[in-house]
Amino acid sequence: MGVYFKDQKHMYEFLEDLWKHIVFEAGLGEKLRAYEVSYRYKITDPDGYIYIDADNVITGEEANRDAVLRMEMSADTVVLFWLKKLSLPVALATRKIKAKGPIPKMLKMTPALKPIYPIFPEFCKKHNVPID
């Protein structure tokens, strides 16, 4: 088990809340639709899945489905990445993040995901994710 989430339930509550905000309230959904991108994250320690597209944010086994971009990483890596404690090239090179799907689409999405960085610590606080 990693250090940031108590269990799978804690992780799912956090990720769902964060991604629903980003996709449905902060405008990422429109970009996902326009760029024809969907994500499926396979997460370990605690284990789980999250699937995201323009209309859906799904967690659990149901989220283990095909997606344009498929990512695999530990739950701790998720947190460290969004806290900017891990750069994408380094994370990919050291296999902390594994990715499958068109690299052009992955790079294309990077600017659209930037709004997550400033709000991420707030969500951590809200869900008692111990980042301090």
């Binding site: 396979k42 498929r70 695999e72 750069s87 994408l88 090239p89 380094v90 990919l92 090179a93 050291t94 296999r95 993040i97 594994k98 990715a99 499958k100 799907g101 068109p102 690299i103 052009p104 689409k105 992955m106 790079l107 294309k108 999405m109 990077t110 600017p111 659209a112 930037k114």
Partner: protein, 417 residues
């Protein structure tokens, strides 16, 4: 000349891109490359040289940013579309195509991090540039280290006794760069920016290196003379020297902690690109030979009616088609997986460049004496193809590197589920 593409999934956009790239290759690149081939290296890069006419037209059309996503100002191309364009441009001139590809590496590097500093200072200005006033170079090779620099994963890559000739040291908020890069730096003497590979932790050998995106107008940067060479004379190459050059630490894309694997990923794309370029030049040589064989009369009939010429042409055709299949597959795989399979890209490079060389060689044989004359394009294609066997890692070295990788990883499994 058009060709049958065995990929039955090509869509209208793919075909339109192929046609426009081919038109540019035929109408702009071919004549300019021929002109540049007969110039001295200094004349090639002079202010009024047709080299700059080519560069400006390529930038106007956006060919300098084919690897960069549209969200950064680049083109929104799929890996297949990138491959199609690379083949067509290399049909026009492989030297000019290599130069144009290298021109954008430093900006592409910036998109890998997405960091504001790199995007604002390098990626956005490069993508907005339409007059070729911003040009990058590929600063990896060093005078005493050619092959040494392209062996990630091989034991020699981590040998601390192999000392790099270009080093970077952190000093406060800046890196200080000292040393030099070899005369083989593509676009070295015309570049305004550099995608620079420097040793940072010599105790790790070349594995202890880092990659920087830097401007070249900084105090302490100087350049050598452009290199004179047998082939790809339209590709500028030359040394760059660094004397206490200070760059902000934000210019670092990746350091020793991840350099080796990151380099492997980078090389899996550059070597596959060489495979894609090989299709273009091999196809160009094959088409020259086909046309010549149809028209040249010997023994009272066209050469093409002789079975041995037909067999030679078939061998050329076979090599062009297999190179396309292998190179596109390696490019596509490695553009869709962050855990690269570099040995497949090396197959594409070694098979492709060897095939291009053999096709050009056999084409000269069909041309006979005319093939040796400067009057015909085929002798230039032959010289350009010869250079490819060494360019971007000699095929011998790459075979050692890929052989090692193959032994270590076979059967490679894709463990992402």
């Amino acid at each position: 000349m058009n060709y049958l593409d065995l990929d039955i999934n090509l869509n209208e956009d793919d075909i339109a891109l192929r046609q426009s790239a081919h038109r540019f290759a035929k109408e702009v690149m071919r004549p300019i490359a021929k002109e540049l081939d007969e110039m001295t290296p200094e004349q090639v890069i002079a202010k009024d040289s047709p080299f700059w006419t080519f560069m400006k037209k390529a930038y106007e059309l956006g060919y300098h940013k084919i690897y960069i996503p549209d969200t950064y100002g680049g083109l929104d191309l799929t890996p297949l579309q990138q491959a199609i364009i690379m083949e067509e441009l290399a049909w026009g001139s492989v030297g000019l195509t290599v130069g144009l590809g290298v021109a954008g590496f430093f900006a592409f590097g910036g998109t890998l991090t997405g960091e504001d500093y790199l995007v604002d200072n390098f990626v956005t200005p490069f993508c907005e540039c339409t007059d070729a006033s911003i040009v990058g170079c590929w600063g990896i090779t060093e005078p005493d280290h050619g092959s040494d620099t392209v062996m990630p994963g091989h034991p020699i890559f981590s040998d601390p006794n192999i000392k790099g000739q270009c080093r970077a040291k952190l000093d406060g908020d800046e890196y200080v760069i000292n040393g030099q890069k070899a005369a083989w730096v593509s676009m070295g003497t015309v570049a305004t920016h550099c995608f620079l590979f420097c040793q940072m932790d010599p105790s790790m050998g070349f594995a202890g290196s880092g990659i920087f995106t830097i401007p070249l107008d900084l105090p302490g940067v100087s350049k050598g003379a452009p290199l004179n060479k047998i082939g790809q004379r339209d590709l500028n190459q030359g040394e760059i020297f660094f004397d206490n050059v200070r760059v902000p630490k934000d210019c670092l894309i990746v350091g020793p902690e991840a350099y080796e694997v990151f380099l492997e990923t980078t090389l899996s794309l550059t070597t596959a690109s060489m495979g894609l370029y090989s299709i273009g030049i091999a196809r160009a040589a094959m088409e020259e030979a086909l046309e010549y064989a149809k028209n040249r009369i010997q023994g009272g009939k066209p050469l093409i009616e002789y079975p041995n010429v037909q067999m030679k042409l078939f061998e050329m055709f076979r090599k062009v088609e297999t190179t396309r299949l292998m190179s596109r597959a390696a490019w596509n795989y490695n553009m869709n997986n962050t855990e690269s399979a570099e040995e497949y890209s090396i197959i594409a490079k070694v098979h492709g460049t060897q095939s291009a060389y053999e096709v050009a060689h056999e084409a000269i044989q069909i041309f006979g004496g005319n093939g040796l004359s400067k009057e015909y394009l085929i002798e230039k294609l032959f010289r350009d193809a010869r250079a490819m066997l060494i360019e971007d890692g000699s095929n011998d070295t790459l075979a050692i590197s890929a052989g090692h990788k193959f032994i270590q990883t076979y059967p490679r499994m894709n463990d992402l589920t």
